[in-house]
């Protein structure tokens, strides 16, 4: 999957006064930042501060209620369709079908992202090896542990070589070995921006170019 021209034209993310409401409740307010291509943003905050909501807005899964949001040069929500396929999103749900095997799930996502059969097989084999899942790749997702499903979800997230990674607690359910293996796939890479939501700042802050702290009922603070 080739990065599109708009990717290199400006920052990976530009947020000005981002707000997101759920009915009468405001989940996010006054979020502003600019993240360059290849930079990492770490998002911290207590439960309910709006971290996952922020990621879902950036992933085009939620519409912003106010403010300006530009992701990879595309203004949201107007140009959301241009972003599809350019973002790798790892949320709380692994987005894997329980009745399909890990390999079948990855093949399904590869076809949705228009990766040719041969290229997809090679990429899937490479990713499964990278997260130590070759031997369990043909087991149904329902039969895998939560940590193994997370490893597969990480493979799904980077399968199409996205330009921006949105990672919501990427280490959750992973053992130490899994964290190290996953880091090889979702760690910092030149020209690939990352937004990482985490409750483990010790692990992710050393890699951060910027840190966004969200608080309940408070303005977001960027450092």
């Amino acid at each position: 999957m080739k990065p599109q021209d708009t990717a290199s034209a400006g920052p990976a993310l530009r947020l000005v006064g981002l707000r997101r409401d759920y009915g009468d409740r405001t989940a996010l307010e006054g979020v502003g930042l600019e993240l360059g291509a290849g930079e990492s943003l770490v998002v911290l905050g207590p439960n309910g501060a709006g971290k996952s909501t922020l990621l879902r807005v950036l992933a085009t899964l939620l519409r912003p209620s106010g403010g300006e949001v530009t992701v990879l040069g595309c203004s949201l929500p107007r140009e959301a369709w241009k972003l599809r396929g350019r973002i790798g999103y790892l949320g709380h749900e692994p987005l894997l079908y329980r009745d399909l095997s890990g390999r079948e799930n990855l093949r399904f996502h590869a076809r949705l992202h228009n990766i040719g059969t041969e290229a997809a097989e090679a990429r899937i084999t490479e990713l499964l090896a990278a997260v130590g899942m070759e031997r369990r790749a043909d087991d149904r997702a329902a039969e895998l542990s939560a940590g193994m499903r997370q490893r597969l979800a990480i493979c799904r997230c980077v399968l199409h070589e996205p330009e921006l990674l949105l990672l919501d607690e990427p280490d959750s359910n992973l053992d130490l070995e899994g964290r190290e293996l996953a880091h090889g796939l979702i760690g910092p890479v030149q020209n690939r921006a990352r937004v990482v939501v985490t409750h483990d700042p010790d692990r992710h802050l050393p890699e951060a170019d910027q840190v966004l702290r969200l608080g309940i009922g408070e303005m977001a603070r960027l450092s």
Partner: protein, 226 residues
Amino acid sequence: MTPSRVAFAAILGKDLRSELRTLQSLPAMALFAVTTFIIFRFGLDRTQLSGSLASGVLWATLLFAAVLGINRLFVAEREEGGFDAIRLAPIDRSVLFAAKVAALMVYLLALELIAVPVFAIFFLDSGTALLPLISVLLLADFGLAATGTLISSMAVNSRARDLLVPLVLLPLIVPLMIAATGATEPLLALGGPGYHRFGTWLMVLGLYDLIFGLVGYAVFDFLLED
């Protein structure tokens, strides 16, 4: 953008593979239909049906059996994150509608492969009506699949999904059932198939299919929005 035919094949293939592996919908639909025919057979105390009664028994049974499949059509997408995966992929979201209609059509045709012969064995003295009945089944199946997919996608996010689907679907499907039973009635007439107003009812079925196919295709993108 991923070509629509590639995305369509991927989603349809995924649905059929899951169903073959888990058999969550089809056996229940078929069992329901066969059980209902048995109930009609003993409830009506008739070994032979014809005309409007035969047509009504057949279509009422197929419709309620179809509702079982329609209820489950989007459950995997809702519970396993398929909606998000499809919204993140570079595909026309209407492809999901088309693939789900096709999957439901396959379920309905498989159901009818079992239910219609059982109906013929229980209630018909000959199978001569079955060949022309295929055109009615195909047209009615498409309308039922298009409307069912649309309603199922709206109801799946509700906890009252099992209640909402029949409540919303059944009123919308009334014109389709009138046309399907109208077209089937002369085929199952006493003394052999007739074709009185058969073509007119087929056209009504076609018109219904066209309207609900286009409505579903047009609005489905908005239904997936936040």
